[in-house]
């Protein structure tokens, strides 16, 4: 059979797993796709190569297609998210001295972890808190702003969020460039093993089900190559389902450990996949709930309400027209293509394209095409909910 070639970029992180699995386990080939994976040194590089056609698809921060479609950033165009590759998976780490001060101040265990740790962090910080994130347009940055501003820090006065490439995160904290970071795995664990940082919180403690990475393509490509886009969505969905099987976990760590992907020990990678992270150098693994999710609870569905959430936050920050931002932002999450791709093969998909974000505290059955769909807990740590219907335009 002749396969159609797709060149897809990825950043070597644990959450590129669905792409690696789609290629290595043959899910892409099953859809007639010869999936070529190209590691990229930065999110800017991945974005530019996608824009200029060197890549047709990319592993991308969930925030990027929304803001690029809104026209924010150094290079913009309409970019679509075909499906979500992963939910959660980030860690918050702090310099060891700051962690010591936090322990002295004391972390309140009688409240939720994000509130307890956040208050201790604020009390222990001297001066404005400088926090490194991999990219300004990222869930990492959104989680930080959401978390710390809700606890009373005001950006940029008390909170200075700056960009540090993930591979430099440990060095940046060791050099005193930043006090803390929010980064994806394996980089948090790398910093812990070097003794440069302690992990104090998983991102999922701030938002229990945050879209982290998406499969992104150019909007004009998705329109012109619709059948190919649908095949790609199906391949990624099957890869995600395979990833969701617990017995495949060790195979995934071994695959990702290969030099052409992460080139890191599989033990290090397995910490994120198992949700059992070593929080401080020489410490014991600690189980973190909902650490990263690839498949369960409709994790791959590109909820328009999440694009809406991202768009309205960036519209406020950049002083852009909110209604317009929300309209183009929501359109970037292609629930329509996702449904078209998966309904054909009898996969259950959510009945709605949006939901109230933050409303579920337990696994809950929801309306779906076949009536077999569950959504997972998706609460924000402060208990607030985001109802897209109440905040502006609906589409």
């Amino acid at each position: 059979m002749n396969l159609d070639r797709i060149d897809c970029g990825f950043v070597p992180l644990v959450d590129c797993a669905p792409l690696v699995v789609a290629r290595e386990l043959g899910f892409a080939a099953e859809e007639g796709i010869d999936l070529h994976l190209h590691p990229q040194p930065s999110w800017s590089a991945i974005r530019d190569k996608l824009l200029f056609g060197e890549l047709q698809a990319a592993h991308m921060l969930s925030v990027l297609p929304v803001v690029m479609s809104m026209g924010l950033g150094a290079a913009t165009d309409r970019i679509d998210a075909l499906s979500v590759l992963s939910a959660n998976g980030d860690v918050i780490g702090v310099a060891p001295e700051l962690a010591d001060r936090m322990h002295q101040v004391g972390v309140d265990r009688n409240t939720d972890p994000a509130t307890g740790v956040g208050r201790a962090l604020i009390a222990a910080a001297s001066g404005p808190l400088r926090v490194g994130v991999p990219f300004p347009f990222s869930m990492h940055a959104e989680l930080l702003y959401y978390w710390l501003s809700s606890l009373g820090l005001e950006a940029p006065r008390d909170l200075n969020v700056r960009t540090v490439p993930p591979s430099n995160m440990a060095e940046a904290i060791a050099a005193g460039e930043v006090d803390a970071f929010c980064v994806g795995e394996p980089w948090g664990s790398v910093a812990v093993d070097k003794g440069d940082a302690e992990i104090v919180l998983p991102g999922s403690a701030i938002w229990q089900f945050a879209p982290e990475k998406v499969l992104a393509v150019r909007h004009d490509w998705a329109e012109a190559e619709r059948p190919m886009a649908l095949r790609l969505i199906r391949a990624m969905w099957r890869a995600a389902r395979w990833l969701g099987e617990a017995e495949n976990r060790l195979t995934v760590s071994d695959l990702l450990a290969q030099p052409e992907y992460l080139g890191r020990p599989s033990e290090l990678i397995d910490r994120a996949l198992s949700g059992r992270l070593v929080l401080a150098k020489n410490g014991r693994p600690t189980r973190l709930g909902n650490f990263v999710e690839f498949y369960d609870c409709a994790a791959t569905f590109p909820w328009r309400s999440q694009a809406h959430w991202i768009a309205s936050r960036w519209a406020a920050r950049a002083g852009a027209d909110r209604e317009e931002a929300v309209a183009v932002g929501r359109a970037a999450f292609r629930t329509d293509l996702y449904r078209a791709a998966l309904q054909d093969i009898g996969v259950d998909v959510p009945g709605a394209s949006e939901k109230v974000e933050g409303a579920l505290s337990v696994r809950t059955e929801v309306a779906s095409a076949k009536g077999e769909m569950f959504l997972g807990p998706d609460r924000f740590f402060d208990g607030k909910v985001f109802d897209p219907a109440e905040t502006g335009t609906r589409h």
Partner: protein, 195 residues
């Protein structure tokens, strides 16, 4: 500021490469060029220099820091964007292929940037060619080593002369339509496995 003089920042850790870039830019016109070798605190350094153009290798992970500069929101800050010439996409593509990206301040005219970027593209193309050559040389050297080891193994195991050992490798390769180095590799691996 002199209309003809552009303030250019070059983010490049390798000193020799940086100097070559600076030379090329100077040849393309008298410019005020600053090299940033150490990328720690890059955003702050750029704020101090306040360049019209920033040149950085596409594969440099610190490019993502420039995105932060592109977001400049305070009135004193000058927004920058990646230089993309929509009317001349060939040039943008040439830059990507050569491995260089340019960030320019808002409102800078295209005609002023073009000579700078052209010079940078030529220089980076040269770097890319040098890299390919270096890799080819390295690969050839590694291949030689393996063939030498394979010859040695054959000489010892079968009492052949060096020439005979090579002839045997070449004949086997031809018979199997494989490369001599592949046959040598297989032999060396097998020998290693057998101890």
């Amino acid at each position: 500021m002199n209309e003809a003089n552009l303030r250019i920042a070059v983010v490049e850790a390798d000193r020799d490469r940086a100097l070559m870039i600076v030379d090329s830019l100077r040849d393309a016109g008298a410019h005020d060029v600053t090299v940033i070798g150490d990328a720690t605190g890059l955003a702050r350094r750029l704020e101090d220099i306040s360049p019209d153009v920033v040149l950085i290798e596409i594969s440099n992970p610190n490019r993502d820091v420039l995105e932060e500069v592109a977001l400049a929101s305070a009135p004193t800050e000058r927004p920058v964007a990646m230089f993309v010439d929509k009317s001349d996409s060939q040039m943008t593509r040439a830059a990507i292929e050569a491995g260089v990206s340019a960030y320019v301040v808002d409102g800078l005219r295209k005609e002023r940037i073009k000579p700078v970027l052209d010079a940078a593209i030529v220089r980076f193309q040269l770097f890319a060619r040098m890299r390919v050559e270096l890799e080819t040389t390295k690969a050839a050297l590694a291949e030689r080593k393996v063939i030498d080891r394979a010859k040695g193994l054959l000489m010892k195991a079968r009492g052949l002369s060096e020439e005979e050992a090579y002839a045997l490798l070449r004949k086997t390769a031809m018979d199997q339509s494989r490369k001599v180095s592949d046959v040598a590799h297989a032999l060396v691996t097998a020998a290693d496995l057998l101890g």
